[in-house]
Structures are given as structure tokens and as C-alpha cells.
């Protein structure tokens, strides 16, 4: 963080405000961070905060943040209230009816929090100063499992998203499905597992729905459900992984993709498959 002058501790923000753009907070990581900053620029001791001065500057900073159209989160307001409370306590003479710690410095708890937070800030900086893998040093890559392409833009799908995708698939199939019909065909999870793995043997990845509907072919509900169970089973065995893209906001979006998991060899899931049946 830059060290602005004491009379304009938030100058970083105000200067960019002149441009009329939405302004980002001048690097404050929260109310405690802002408070630490004020303490630093006022050159006072954390353990002996001139609470009236600091509280006032703190409120000014909040006002400025609001003026700049920054979203002043509730956390900032909470600390403002705490500061006001401490300030009022400081004005009162010590209450003789309270004993021991209770009648101590009303700033004590805040001081303890600030010191603790500062400690972690320091150590965070120290960690950042290390030679970090992927930033400062890079490993010999070996011939590891193929990395998932675009891994940065994808997350593994949770069971709820998967259930939702399946529900949608079922609904899509529902109305135009064949009227109830007793079928002699028996589908087993084991057979569907093999089908899924065969589909994945030919291609890097498949779309979830594509697998369910076997590349467009009309399928029965029983088959749909069994394929779904097969996919669940394979996921549990870690033979496959389920992935979904993220939009700019980091929200999972779009079709769910299924990929073979690099780590698990074919022998392994085949073996577990035979255990299963």
C-alpha cells in the first residue's frame, strides 16, 4: 500500500475519482486494515490509540467511500460503531462498581484484534516474498497426467448441479417419451459404465447430456436412469471427472463435460467394476 500524506489518507481513491470512473477501494482489505492504515499515518501506537482522532478520520474515510459510490460494507459500519462505543467509554469515569478486567481500558479488545491482524498481515507479506511456484520458480514438468485443458476456467461439478442437469434431461425426455411400455430390455449399470468409458476412449470429453442420450439416439427412461447411475459410479471411482465452465463472475455456466481422470488407469476402474457387480 502506498503511504499517502496524513491529511489525505485516501488520496489514492480520490485522485482516480476525478476521472469519473467507478473507483476501487484504495487497497483496504477491510475495516481493520483501514484502521491500521490510519494508525500508521498518524504515527501513533496501536496500544495507545487517540480514539477521538482516529474515530473521526475513520468516519471521514467512510463518508468519502460513500461519496465515491463505493459500497461501504456492513463490516465497516460495525467497526465505526465499536469506535463510537469506545470513545464514549473513554469519556466516562471508571465505574467503581465494575471490578477487574471489566473496568480496564475499553480499547483493549480492539487493540488485541488489531495487533493480531497486523501480525498476520506481516506474515502474509513474508509468505508473498518467498519464491513461489508458478510465479518465481517453475518445476521440471515430468510426464505427468495430461492437465485438464482450460482448467483455469472450469470447476468440478458438485452433485447438486449434476442432479439438476439430470432433472432437466429427464424433463426434456418426459413428454415426448414413448407411452408407458413394458420393455424386455434390461440395462445394467455395468453395461452403461462400459458404454460411457468407450465413448470417452474415443474422445477427450463428452457432454453430459450427449452421453445420456447416446449421441441423439432415442432412449428409454430406464436407460437414462441407468446411464446416470453409471456416471455417478464412475465419478465415485474417480475414473471420470465432471466439469463445468465459469462465466466472468465465476458462476458455473453451460453444459457439464465429462472427462477421463488422468490419475486412474484403466485397469483400476475395470478392477473395481468387477468388484462392483
Amino acid at each position: 500500500m502506498s503511504a499517502p500524506t496524513p491529511d489525505a489518507p485516501w488520496s489514492a481513491a480520490s485522485s482516480s475519482a476525478a476521472d469519473g470512473y467507478a473507483v476501487k477501494l484504495p487497497l483496504f482489505e477491510g475495516p481493520l486494515d483501514l484502521l491500521l492504515h490510519l494508525i500508521r499515518i498518524n504515527e501513533v501506537e496501536i496500544t495507545d490509540i487517540p480514539i477521538a482522532t482516529i474515530a473521526e478520520q475513520y468516519l471521514q474515510a467512510l463518508d468519502l467511500m460513500r461519496e465515491l459510490d463505493l459500497d461501504v460494507a456492513g463490516e465497516y459500519l460495525l467497526l465505526a460503531a465499536t469506535l463510537a462505543w469506545i470513545k464514549s467509554r473513554m469519556l466516562l469515569p471508571p465505574d467503581p462498581s465494575e471490578d477487574g478486567e471489566e473496568s480496564g481500558d475499553p480499547r483493549a479488545e480492539l487493540v488485541a484484534r488489531l495487533l493480531e491482524y497486523q501480525r498476520f498481515k506481516e506474515v502474509a507479506q513474508e509468505l508473498d516474498g518467498r519464491q513461489l511456484l508458478g510465479r518465481d520458480v517453475f518445476p521440471a514438468q515430468g510426464a505427468g497426467p495430461e492437465p485438464i485443458p482450460d482448467a483455469e476456467r472450469e470447476i468440478e461439478v458438485g452433485v447438486f448441479q449434476l442432479m439438476e442437469a439430470f432433472r432437466q434431461a429427464m424433463r426434456r425426455e418426459g413428454p415426448r417419451g414413448v407411452p408407458h411400455e413394458v420393455e424386455a430390455e434390461t440395462v445394467t449399470v455395468r453395461e452403461r459404465i462400459l458404454v460411457v468409458m468407450q465413448a470417452l476412449a474415443q474422445r477427450d470429453s463428452c457432454e453430459f447430456e450427449e452421453l445420456l442420450f447416446e449421441m441423439g439416439e432415442r432412449v428409454s427412461r430406464a436407460k437414462l436412469v441407468t446411464t446416470f447411475l453409471a456416471i455417478l459410479e464412475l465419478t465415485r471411482l474417480e475414473a471420470i471427472g465432471l466439469y463445468q465452465g465459469l462465466d466472468e463472475l465465476g458462476v458455473p455456466q453451460g453444459p457439464i463435460h465429462i472427462r477421463r481422470k488422468g490419475g486412474v488407469g484403466e485397469a483400476s476402474w475395470m478392477e473395481r467394476l468387477s468388484d462392483l457387480m
Partner: protein, 216 residues
């Protein structure tokens, strides 16, 4: 086996290993060689690299050896890498630091220390495998607790958690820190978590012995 040949084998194994490989694992494939001898060999290799101005060195991180480029080449390598270079925000670093020293911690405890919501940061750290869910705390609500993952040690070049830089004592508060009326903090006993650490840390511990510092 000839010593020079042994050294070349160790070098080849470390070079081709996709992740840090332990001395014990290397010793398994080297006849008449124990883990501590593997360490000696690695030390010799690193000396050799320095002598001939190599562009890389062997680090010992997260319980294993890994060949890594020297930091001076980072500006070039960042441009070559397919993935975006590692970037950790201030929020991510602070949160990681708290988790590293206080683990296992709940989200509420993290938020208490930093004074801000931790949800987004936690998600991003989890996605990057730097932290993991380490179970629940057996208190009302059974909150999830977080701990650092093995990947954290790799990225930060640490052999084990105990190698973290020392957390500066709060001198001003003296030994009384725990007695300060910071109830929420003091009320965070560390031993209550159910699932203990996974095996990886245990491995790390067992090999901690005569660990040479990463290269140099």
C-alpha cells in the same frame, strides 16, 4: 553400483517426476541406498549445478524433491507458461496465512481476524487446491474447518508446516495475549477437530530429519 551412476539415476528420477518425489521413494528403486544417502546425492547434485551455472536446482518441498528453475528466469518463463502465472491477492495471502498458522479454522474465526467476509476468498483458495476442508468442529452448527493442503507447501516452497516463518509474538501484549478479553479467539481450541490431517503431512513429518534447505 558406481556412485556416479547412482547420482545420474537420482537426477533422472527427479527430473522426470511430475510432482515432488520423496527420498524414501527414490531409495526404493536404488539398490543398496537409503533415504539419507539419497539426500546426500541430491546435495551433491545441487553443488554440481551451482558449479556449472545451471539454470535449475533441486528443492525439497512438501516431503519430496523437485527440480525447479532459478528465480532469475521467471520473467521469461512466465511468458512461456500456458497457464496464467500464480497471482495471490492480499486477501488471499492474509487468509492463507491465518489458515496456515491457526489450522484448522472455521470461516467465522477467519472473519473475526480479518474483519471481513471470507466466502469468496475461501472458494478461490479451495479451487486452487491451496486449502482443504478438514472436517467439522464439534460445536453447535458443526462448522466446517479449513486447513492448508499439500499444494500450499509446494507453492510456498516449504518442506513442512513447521517450516513456516515464525509468527512474531505480540510483544506489546506480552504473554498475556491469551488472557486478553478476546473471547472469540481464545475460544478456538485447536484439538477439537475430528478428522486428523491426511497422510500427506505424516509423510512430510517422517522425512523432516536431515532435510537440506531447498538448494542453495
Amino acid at each position: 553400483m558406481e556412485r556416479d551412476q547412482q547420482r545420474r539415476i537420482v537426477e533422472a528420477i527427479i527430473l522426470s517426476s511430475p510432482e515432488p518425489i520423496s527420498a524414501a521413494r527414490i531409495a526404493e528403486v536404488l539398490p543398496r541406498c537409503n533415504p539419507s544417502q539419497v539426500r546426500t546425492i541430491v546435495r551433491d547434485l545441487n553443488e554440481e549445478y551451482v558449479e556449472r551455472h545451471s539454470a535449475f536446482e533441486i528443492w525439497e518441498v512438501a516431503g519430496g524433491f523437485q527440480m525447479r528453475s532459478l528465480p532469475e528466469f521467471a520473467p521469461y518463463l512466465r511468458q512461456i507458461q500456458k497457464t496464467r502465472p500464480l497471482r495471490l491477492s492480499q486477501a488471499a495471502l492474509e487468509t492463507l496465512a491465518i489458515i496456515a498458522y491457526r489450522q484448522p479454522v472455521t470461516r467465522a474465526e477467519l472473519e473475526q481476524v480479518r474483519g471481513v467476509d471470507a466466502g469468496a476468498v475461501l472458494r478461490s483458495l479451495l479451487e486452487r487446491d491451496l486449502i482443504r476442508v478438514a472436517g467439522h468442529r464439534e460445536v453447535p452448527g458443526r462448522p466446517i474447518v479449513y486447513a492448508t493442503a499439500r499444494r500450499f507447501l509446494e507453492v510456498f516452497g516449504l518442506m513442512k508446516l513447521a517450516d513456516l516463518p515464525a509468527l512474531r509474538e505480540v510483544a506489546d501484549l506480552g504473554a498475556g495475549e491469551d488472557e486478553e478479553p478476546v473471547a472469540s479467539d481464545a475460544a478456538a481450541p485447536e484439538a477439537e477437530v475430528l478428522p486428523p490431517d491426511d497422510g500427506s503431512e505424516a509423510d512430510v513429518e517422517s522425512e523432516a530429519g536431515a532435510a537440506p534447505e531447498p538448494a542453495l
